[in-house]
């Protein structure tokens, strides 16, 4: 007999995590899907090409998972240049696909729209096409203007963190999606969204205009899953934890001391079998103190 039950997209973290294979191109949105990133580090996935920015990207680089980054910004208000990104790029162990915000979004848009490239003006006259041979300076066939052709940036799997979803992958971001989330979703073959809460299908139906992503390939329940970073409407970033990361990773790289780096990840990531164990270690009291406002 035909199975007449609508399929759930909810997967345990390890099941969804196993989709990510070494060598793939993945993207990380904002808020940062840290639960999944910790799974990737713990399971020693390597040689990834990663589209992302901010300290979540640095965390994955420091964790030893990244071969190449596609990023427009590798700094943060906390530090001029992120430590793992900086050291690995200077050593030549990390490849950087040099771009900027408009170029990146153009490449993602081209992928989402099934086009080979998208033209963009920002970057004309700069060193970007000299450094990044994938960017082609072209003359537009309509008016003859000089522009940059940005090739489609296709993604194997996009990893996002959002507020709520039902069990069928209808996702609703709280207070809008992050800057790149929708671009990253549209450019990807598959999307895994970790959420603060799984709600009923009726709740989603009561406000369908708030659905930002329908049919996500996998939903992972991950309350506080963006920690130590923020999740809109839920919690703010854990400044103390971020400072510790920056200090530990900066010293590990400047001393050339691998053990220090491994020690950091052992303590904050690898020793835990699950996201729940990680949260236990952070502690309820501390998590509550991060409640938004």
């Amino acid at each position: 007999m035909l199975n007449q039950v609508r399929e759930s997209s909810v997967l345990p973290e390890e099941k969804a995590g196993q989709w990510v294979k070494s060598g793939m191109t993945i993207a990380i949105g904002e808020p940062a899907p840290m639960g999944l990133l910790r799974w990737i580090i713990r399971n020693k996935i390597t040689d990834l090409t990663v589209i992302g920015s901010g300290l979540a990207l640095d965390y994955l680089i420091a964790g030893g998972c990244v071969r190449k980054v596609i990023t427009y910004y590798a700094g943060s208000p906390d530090i001029a240049v992120m430590p793992a990104f900086r050291s690995e790029a200077e050593n030549g162990t990390l490849e950087v696909w040099e771009c900027e915000e408009g170029i990146l979004t153009s490449g993602l848009e081209a992928a989402g729209k099934g086009l080979p490239f998208m033209p963009w003006r920002g970057g004309v006259g700069t060193s970007l096409p000299d450094i990044n041979a994938d960017l082609k300076v072209i003359r537009d066939p309509i008016g003859g203007e000089v522009l940059i052709a940005v090739p489609a940036i296709n993604i194997d799997i996009t990893l996002l963190h959002a507020s709520i979803s039902d069990s069928y992958g209808n996702v609703q971001h709280c207070r809008g999606t992050g800057w790149l989330d929708m671009f990253l979703y549209r450019a990807a073959d598959r999307v895994i969204v970790q959420v603060e809460k799984i709600v009923s299908n009726e709740e989603i139906r009561s406000k369908p205009w708030e659905t930002t992503i329908s049919n996500a390939d996998a939903i992972v329940l991950s309350p506080y899953g963006a920690h130590p970073f923020y999740s809109r409407g839920y919690y703010v970033q854990d400044q103390e934890h971020i400072r510790d990361y920056l200090e530990a990773i900066t010293t590990a790289y400047s001393d050339g001391n691998r053990d220090k780096k491994d020690g950091y990840f052992e303590k904050h990531c690898n020793q835990f079998q699950s996201h729940a164990e990680y949260l236990d270690a952070i502690g309820t009291r501390h998590l509550i103190s991060l409640s938004e406002y």
């Binding site: 943060s76 915000e101 800057w179 938004e292």
Partner: protein, 263 residues
């Protein structure tokens, strides 16, 4: 106020006087001097200004104080915003960017106002100093009506004859038509403000020119710390220091934690 303004406060006031009511002001990340400048201008003479930061837009002229956000990359940075364009529309209305004013820093800046945020070194795959990358500066500086280069330090390592790499084109290789010839429409860099002085660009060649020296700074200080030959005018005024009203407003209604008073 009895004690004098710090250099950073002088820089912020110089910038705030440049801003006109109705401007749309966008400040990049980690630039406290322009962050203070736009808020000060908004309070003092800009009821119709729009402040744009990380996708949020706000007009908070009605508020008694407009403190700087004391947190980094967080949803709280859009507090007071009237709209939030992070849904992927941040770069979708460049048509309207002639009203927009942008502020940018750099690892290197050359005499034509070209900026490098990529890094230092001959081999781009193995830079001696890897910078934070170009952020959105290539697109913003291509389209905005005008922008200001703001440097945290004035040294010959920053102000160089030629940038190792160019993230954002200023006046390219010089000349008032240089941007037009490249096909980039915006108004280009207007001033370069540093802890030593204020500089602009000459009308024809678009070479960087000294405008005024901050109090206590000599022409020799500037020459010794600039890696290229600046255009020096016959008369060099001292940068106008903040008025008592400006400084009081800056300290009591914007920079409540004294970010520009330290260091």
């Amino acid at each position: 106020m009895s004690f004098p303004a710090t250099i950073k406060e002088v820089m912020a006031v110089v910038l705030s006087r440049e801003l006109e009511d109705g401007d749309h002001l966008q400040v990049g990340v980690a630039l406290p001097v322009p962050e203070v400048a736009v808020r000060l201008a908004h309070i003092m003479h800009g009821p119709n200004m729009q402040l744009i930061f990380l996708g949020g837009r706000m007009n908070v002229h009605h508020l008694e104080s407009i403190p700087l956000p004391d947190f980094g990359w967080d949803s709280r940075s859009v507090r007071w915003a009237e709209s939030y364009s992070d849904r992927g529309h941040r770069f979708d209305q460049v048509k309207a960017w002639h009203k927009r004013v942008f502020f940018v820093g750099g690892l290197q800046v050359d005499k034509f106002g070209n900026i490098n945020l990529i890094g230092i070194g001959n081999d781009p795959t193995k830079l001696k100093f890897r910078g934070p990358a170009s952020v959105g500066t290539p697109t913003l500086t291509t389209h905005v009506g005008r922008y200001y280069i703001v440097l945290n330090n004035h040294s010959s390592r920053v102000l160089v004859p030629k940038c190792d790499y160019v993230s954002a084109v200023g006046w390219h290789e010089g000349g008032a038509n240089s941007r037009k010839e490249l096909g980039i429409p915006g108004g280009g860099p207007k001033l370069c403000v540093t802890p030593l002085c204020v500089m602009d660009f000459t009308e024809v060649e678009k070479r960087m020119r000294l405008v005024s020296l901050h109090p206590g700074v000599t022409l020799d200080d500037v020459k010794a710390n600039t890696g290229f030959e600046l255009v020096i005018p016959d008369i060099i005024p001292t940068t106008l220091v903040p008025t008592e009203d400006e400084l009081t407003t800056l300290r009591t209604r914007v920079d409540l934690n004294g970010l520009l008073r330290s260091g």
